[in-house]
Amino acid sequence: MRYVQPVVAIALVVLLLGVPFWLVVVTAGKSQSEALNPNLSTPSHWHLWDNFSTVFQEGHMTPAFFGSLLIMIPAVAGVLVLGAMASWVLARRKSRTIAFVYALAISGLVLPPAVVTIVLLLRQLGLAGTALGMIGVYMGMYMSTVIFFVTGFVRTIPLELEEAARVDGASPPRVFFRIILPLLGPTISTATILICLYIWNDVFYALFVIGGRIDTLPLNLYQVASAGLYLNNWHLIFAYIILMSLPLLVTFGLLQRRIISGVTSGAVK
């Protein structure tokens, strides 16, 4: 068992991860004629940098990268601050009304967003195809997740901590922003990681709300691939996938320990 386990572990990594990722790298390095039928052979000449610069231009990667950031940062910051504010009151006040509001507020954990009628609503609000509309949609989608995580955590913070500040005459906003919010660090970082992942990689809701109007990395991958599959440009699709995954992989590489412990801490009681 001592000797079998490491062999099994390495074999699993090579077969389950090595093969798909090898395919991506070698295909992204091929010329169009070689990549027509993507296979596991190495390219006769490496064209990796040429392909990178082609997709970087044709896939509008710079605007797409900033488009993704422009939507993700306000959405995540907004949903966390507003969600945490609500969670504080939901965790501390006890009444039937509050219990009902809480149940309603976390229903979005389970229920799917009404993606078609969201578009109609955004048109009525004059937000169709705008970054603001997309930010609002993401905030609405992930508010329940934040409220669920943070309310549970606030309940574990002793009330005495707030009382002490209140005796000193601190107003509720001051108590919240000075005492409670700084204590929420661990849960907030878990929620941040999860929601960032979902928003950064989302293409489904983006296709409905901002498709064709604003560039984001997944939306442009969808365009590059839809055109590329027709022309069998597998080398360009995979070059785009590598470039698009780099920011995420670098972030993940730097923060992997915190990300992994953050993700698991919320799930198992």
Binding site: Q5, P6, A9, V13, L17, P20, L23, N37, P38, G78, V79, L82, M85, A86, V89, L90, R92, S95, I98, A99, V101, A103, L104, I106, L111, P112, P113, A114, V116, T117, I118, L120, L121, L125, G136, M139, M141, M143, S144, E162, R166, P172, L197, N201, F204, L217, P218, L221, A225, I241, S245, L248, L249, F252, Q256, I260, T264, A267, V268, K269
Partner: protein, 312 residues
């Protein structure tokens, strides 16, 4: 979560004057206006569109009509008679169940293999989390290329079997749904693995020691002690896998686009396609069907899993 909430709520009504005074002060300490911005966002961007679902599914809203008017249950009738309503509901359900099974099976096996804290295992855990971080759309395209008749998987199989293999993995009207579910499970198995690893770690060393002293082997210890104690992790993993795959889109869109012959057409793929054709009311009707399916299935499933936890 909800049950503790309710018992606390029942205990809330103040019985004495002193308690009443405390409650009033409590209210001022935690003002209701803190709830307003979050609830406003939820109302506008979540609840109103959901309510719209129940309205516009009964209209002829489309890019072909200038005005929207009510048509009763015509959309449901159309989708029912052309078979797509029941077919897509069935496909989505099959997909969700398959993903839940595969994702949990792979996650649990990985967790058990990589349980010990060695250097190789730590590296492997991080590696298996990479697909979780990646875009699902990108994962779909990777597997579309890998699973082509002349693709990488057949190359490998051909090498080991010593003859040419040309299976069209994404071309079967029966089995492709299983293949796309496997891809979905591949993308998310790293997350399930981490949850199971965390669950395994919470099991006290004393319990395992006791079972070892009683002469239980690895398999008996796993079946009788560790697996039952993993109940909370199983609840979380099964629930998230079911919910995630019922809302699935990216992976299937990128691998099969709903084909072959519509046999992998999840509800969200139908919604996206009909929306693109300008048939907004039909897309809304399907969106309502998805809402109903999730609402009907999710709550009982979560309750059953929770109850199993409570028994243990």
């Amino acid at each position: 979560m909800t049950t503790t909430q309710l018992t606390r709520a029942e205990a809330a009504p103040p019985r004495t004057v002193a308690r009443a005074g405390r409650t009033v002060r409590h209210r001022q300490d935690h003002p209701a206006w803190f709830l307003v911005p979050a609830l406003a966002v939820l109302l506008v961007f979540f609840f109103v569109p959901t309510i719209y679902n129940f309205v516009y599914a009964f209209t002829n809203w489309s890019s072909f009509h200038a005005a929207i008017s009510f048509v009763g249950i015509d959309n449901f009738k159309d989708l029912f008679t052309n078979g797509s309503l029941l077919k897509d509901l069935r496909i989505t359900l099959v997909y969700a169940v398959l993903v839940a099974i595969f994702q949990n099976l792979f996650g649990l096996v990985l967790a058990l293999v990589l349980e010990r804290d060695t250097m190789i295992n730590r590296f492997a855990r991080v590696a298996f989390f990479v697909p979780v971080v990646m875009s699902a759309l990108a994962v779909g395209y990777i597997f579309q290329a890998l699973l082509k008749p002349q693709g990488g998987l057949n190359e490998i199989l051909g090498f080991f079997l010593r003859h040419d293999v040309e299976v069209a993995w994404l071309g079967s009207t029966t089995w492709t749904i299983v293949v796309v579910a496997l891809i979905h499970a591949w993308k998310w198995m790293g997350l399930s693995m981490l949850i199971y690893l965390a669950g395994l770690k919470t099991i006290s060393e004393d319990v395992l020691e006791a079972s070892r002293l009683d002469g239980a082997g690895w398999w008996t210890t796993f079946r009788e002690i560790r697996f039952p104690l993993l109940a909370p992790a199983i609840t979380f993993n099964v629930a998230t896998a079911l919910l995630g795959s019922m809302n699935g889109f990216d992976i299937v869109q990128a691998t099969t686009g709903g084909g072959p012959g519509g046999t992998t057409e999840l509800l969200n793929i139908f919604i996206f396609r009909t929306f693109g054709q300008g048939l907004f009311a039909q897309a809304t009707t399907m969106s309502l069907a998805l809402f109903a399916m999730v609402a009907i299935l999710a709550f009982p499933v979560i309750r059953i899993l929770r109850k199993r936890e409570a028994v243990l």
